[in-house]
Amino acid sequence: MQVNTQPALMVRDLHFQYGKQPVVRNVSMELYPGEILAIVGESGSGKSTLLNLLYGSLSPTQGAIQASTPDLGLRPVSALSRQTLRHLQRTAWGFVCQNPRDALRMEISAGGNIVERRMLMGLRHYGQLREEALYWLQKVEIDPTRLDDLPETFSGGMLQRLQIARTLISQPALLYLDEPTSGLDVSVQAALLDLLRKLVIAENMAVVLVTHDLAVARLLAQRIAVMRQGEIIEEGLADQVLDDPQHPYTQLLVSSVLPA
């Protein structure tokens, strides 16, 4: 696979605080298309805040984030107009929430939920929209007869798959995942992660995954960054970080994972 020399995401000296409380400190990183980076840490480490900063839902107190846009390459996120940012967030970028109910429209059919992005992109043909919805429903391994059902009738795992379909349909170049499998049964988690990995690799997406679960990180990511009290204290290839942690905190994290 050809490696793209242009990064999809570039972060320099990122700093964010709520009032007087620093939540993200001095974070720098780069991400290339096709790379999957997991940011792991305990709750309170600042990882979810970091994800929201990258996506543009929060503005940094200091530092710069540059993200790739379809027409103009890397652009500083803080310089984008509200309209442009919102449009990017709904087309070229994707964000999968921990709780799918936060992202889905529960009063709209599953099919409608899936194709919303395509309608936003200008597709106005019901038959084509429906076809695409069906295609993606099958791609995320949901029974196609559920296409017209309301999400209220779906299980937690199905809702998360629905959210994934709804987000990936626009083939985003940048994908952010916030604890995508928390709250799901362990048996369901593995299948979902497997599906995710297949989909993002096929589309050569640049992915940032936030999780407190090291097993999830190992299953999905090639690189891991460990976050503690707002700072990244260790970073490297997933296997290396997990099998040979250098920082005492990482060692603590890894050792506290219950053996299978």
Binding site: I108, S109, G111, G112, M119, L120, H125, Y126, L129, R130
Partner: protein, 276 residues
């Protein structure tokens, strides 16, 4: 009764409303907030339309007022009497072709309008998305972003569930390819009349304190999908009085056995057609 300024409102109020109307005309389909005055008719009964008419009417104007297409429905009569008593001297008419200003509730006249006419619509809920999102703080952002996916999703699900878009009145339209607008609760049947109309179309919502406008010769396109085009429904029979097959009809139940007839809702049009 106490003496009032011509057309009831004081000149400053009229000027303020006209300024808002100018803004509205400059941005077709976009809702402009305005300081709606308390009128002697209740909110919800046409105060927006009345304020617009009061702001633009002059001594030489000829006013027609209709409700449900007819000049003689109770509220149309009440509004026409109001203007007759506070704008002494202005002529009123039931003849669509004679009128210079037509104030209407829930219908567009069948007779085509001209460039020298103004039609004023009474609007209960100016926000086209309100049934899907009642918060103004949200819909304001959606309009600014031209993000109307909420409405398209509703249409998608209608087709999924019913096989067609099941919106009979107050059908959402795109104005000048930019703003989603409520045409007021006119039947979907009437929507095509708004497109490229030579007359100026003004919309007043008194209780909600919003004005908007469609300037002459502006594109007004009902929302639809390419493979499910906009197809408003027609009545099932010609008019029992004048025989017209092209007008919007009221259904009248005649007797206890449910026997029914269809009659033009536009009384002026019906009267003229049956005379031919």
């Amino acid at each position: 009764m106490m003496p009032y300024n011509f057309a009831y409102l004081d000149e400053n109020s009229k000027r303020a409303i006209r300024r808002s109307l100018l803004k509205a005309v400059a941005i077709p389909g976009h809702q402009i907030a305005f300081a709606s005055r308390e009128m002697p008719l209740p909110y919800g009964w046409g105060t927006g339309g009345i304020q617009v008419t009061a702001a633009i009417i002059g001594k030489d104007d000829i006013l027609k007022v209709i409700d449900q297409g007819a000049d003689d429905t109770t509220n149309a009569v009440s509004i026409r009497h109001f203007f007759q008593s506070v704008a002494g001297g202005i002529a009123t008419t039931t003849d669509t072709q004679q009128a210079s200003i037509i104030q209407t509730r829930h219908r567009i006249p069948e007779t085509a309008l001209r460039a020298d006419q103004i039609i004023v619509y009474q609007v209960p809920m100016p926000e086209p998305l309100f049934k899907l999102e009642p918060r103004r703080t949200e819909t304001r952002i959606l309009h600014a972003m031209a993000d109307y996916s909420l409405m398209y999703l509703q249409l998608y699900d209608h087709i999924t569930r019913y096989g067609r878009v099941a919106i009979g009145y107050d059908y959402p339209v795109m104005v000048h390819d930019r703003y989603l607008m409520s045409p007021s609760p006119i039947p979907a049947f009437d929507v095509p009349k708004m497109h490229m109309n030579p007359a100026l179309q003004l919309f007043g919502a008194g209780r909600e304190k919003r004005l908007y406008a469609v300037p002459p010769y502006t594109r007004v396109v009902p929302l639809a999908f390419e493979d499910y085009p906009f197809t408003p429904l027609q009545a099932q029979a010609p008019c029992a009085l004048c025989g017209s097959t092209s007008s919007y009809k009221d259904e009248i139940i005649l007797d206890d056995s449910g026997k029914r007839q269809f009659v033009c809702s536009d009384t002026d049009y019906c009267g003229k057609t049956s005379c031919k």
